[in-house]
């Protein structure tokens, strides 16, 4: 199983720990201790923690995606070689890396869950713990799979068709979309159709639901408006994963070798 090597390689990536864990801890700390000056009820604190958890969880997953994107860019020649001159097939590659990404996301997700619970419990004086911790980890795994497939497709598009000058932008696309959708939840509420259709809305709202135990309202800043159906959100996310899985299977075998030096020069 090649997945274990990918898993171990990602876990030893210092930037992933710095940005995906350290930086997220900083924001959770800010959320618990700096941006919240009020004393609320236990339920209000649970909702507040869930809100921060949902956004931070999405951004942490997108940082994993960016790390994976860079790793794929540096391996295009290797991929062409292993698909031709080893027993590794494009299908095995996608399946193994889906496995590796799932494990890494489960680890990072568990740490984010613990950070959120500890920081908000200390700040509030209540036991602010996730209502559905197992489902929360499972959701991180789904998020990790989505982010890996999204990154893979973006990398192949840039590498094969769009040109390497777009590389940095596309590498950061998962993070950009996460910031845009994540923080837009604090402003004007998105239309329900966008919330259901966009995986970058599905993920934080599902994370909110598993932490708080309640379905998220349309307006996340004031916790008002009609609630969003979590089953539809989950179905939407699974559909995205399914479609991207098929697309990535079709595209990965066509990946072209690009010089690593070329990427460095641009």
């Amino acid at each position: 199983m090649i997945a274990r090597y990918f898993f171990s390689s990602l876990l030893r990536d210092k930037s992933l720990w710095g940005w995906g864990i350290g930086f997220m801890f900083f924001w959770l700390y800010m959320g618990a201790f700096v941006f919240n000056s009020y004393s609320g009820t236990e339920e209000e604190w649970l909702f507040t923690a869930s809100g921060w958890f949902s956004i931070i969880g999405l951004i942490a997953a997108s940082i994993v995606a960016t790390t994976i994107s860079y790793s794929i860019y540096y391996s295009t020649s290797s991929l062409v070689y292993v698909f031709k001159y080893t027993n590794f097939s494009p299908r095995s590659y996608v399946l193994n890396l889906v496995g590796g990404s799932s494990l890494v996301s489960a680890v990072i997700g568990t740490i984010i869950i613990l950070f959120t619970a500890v920081l908000f419990s200390i700040r509030s004086g209540f036991a602010v713990v996730p209502m559905m911790p197992v489902q929360a980890v499972f959701l991180f795994i789904l998020t990790g799979i989505f982010m890996f497939l999204f990154s893979l497709i973006m990398v192949i598009l840039v590498n094969n068709y769009l040109g390497m000058k777009n590389r940095s932008f596309v590498n950061l696309l998962p993070q950009l979309l996460s910031y845009i959708f994540g923080f837009s939840e604090f402003g004007t509420p998105l239309p329900m159709s966008v919330i259901y259709a966009s995986p970058f809305s599905d993920i934080p709202r599902l994370l909110f639901m598993v932490f708080s135990g309640k379905e998220s309202p349309q307006n996340m800043s004031s916790f008002t408006g009609p609630v969003v159906n979590s089953y539809i959100l989950l179905a939407s996310l699974l559909s995205w994963i399914g479609v991207m899985f098929i697309i990535s299977m079709l595209m990965i075998g066509k990946i072209r070798s690009r010089s690593i030096e070329e990427g460095r020069h641009l």
């Binding site: 090649i2 391996s75 290797s78 292993v82 031709k84 001159y85 030096e261």
Partner: protein, 262 residues
């Protein structure tokens, strides 16, 4: 078994490697060395065989199959490090991954790592190695796992003398057919039974016999009865046997011979 027929290739991307032009090469169990200056297209020939460089005309076949169609052909290996950067793993895991993907055991490669005294590199990532260490690890990966065909690109670059001697011995006793690229002419003294080609500006000239390399001469202009005429952007030259202007064996690399002939 490798068959390149009138193939022209250009390494894909904006930073172009020297394109190779109308290359013909047939390899069926032999060992050959291709000598050429840096940037002459040596690496591009290997990349063409590996499917890393686009073939714009002609054909490249490996074990009778067009390179574009090849999958799961485990008999070919190379020392080009860019094909061993699948997951950013350390040296030990890289060896394990490629052994697993080739369906072999990593022990042979790990034994070579010990033989070259590189045990301390096993826990380092490939980019943390010196260029000489990277080159040896690439050579080890190329020569392990019982390949039938080995493609070696400048295998002695940045390798210290002690390890270089060890490496030449290992390469010489390998059963596989080999294409070895180098810019060093003096290596021919150790590879006397090998076939010999020269590559200048993307054009391949040969085949000669490495055992006769010390009898080859380079001359300016086209000489009647020469072994081959080398056409370059800086003039026409002839390679002759037993007599001529400058003996190839007198130079360390090919470009210096051209300088002398001038």
């Amino acid at each position: 078994m490798i068959e390149i027929l009138d193939a022209t290739a250009r390494y894909d991307g904006k930073i172009q490697n020297m394109p190779v032009k109308n290359i013909n090469l047939h390899l069926d169990g032999e060992k050959i060395v291709i000598i050429g200056p840096n940037g002459s297209g040596k690496t591009t020939i290997l990349k063409m065989i590996l499917g890393l460089a686009g073939v714009t005309s002609g054909s490249v076949k490996v074990f009778g199959k067009d390179v574009a169609e090849i999958t799961k052909e485990t008999r070919i290996s190379t020392n080009l490090m860019e094909v061993y950067k699948l997951m950013g793993t350390d040296v030990l895991d890289t060896i394990r991954i490629y052994a697993e993907l080739k369906g072999k055991h990593p022990d042979e490669a790990l034994e070579l790592v010990r033989e070259f005294g590189l045990e301390d590199t096993l826990k380092k990532r490939l980019h943390q190695l010196s260029s000489g260490q990277q080159k040896i690890i690439g050579n080890i990966l190329a020569l392990s796992f019982s390949p039938s065909t080995v493609l070696l690109d400048e295998p002695f670059d940045n390798v210290d003398q002690g390890r270089r001697i060890k490496l030449v011995n290992i390469i010489e006793r390998t059963d596989a057919e080999i294409i070895l690229n180098t810019h060093e002419l003096d290596i021919l003294k150790r590879l006397k039974t090998w076939g010999l080609y020269f590559i200048i500006e993307g054009r391949l000239f040969g085949r000669f016999n490495a055992s006769k390399a010390d009898r080859l001469y380079l001359n300016s202009g086209e000489i009647a009865g020469c072994l081959t005429v080398v056409e370059t952007s800086f003039g026409k030259y002839s390679i002759t046997e037993d007599s001529g202007q400058v003996p190839l064996s007198s130079a360390r690399d090919l470009l210096s011979v051209f300088d002398e002939v001038q």
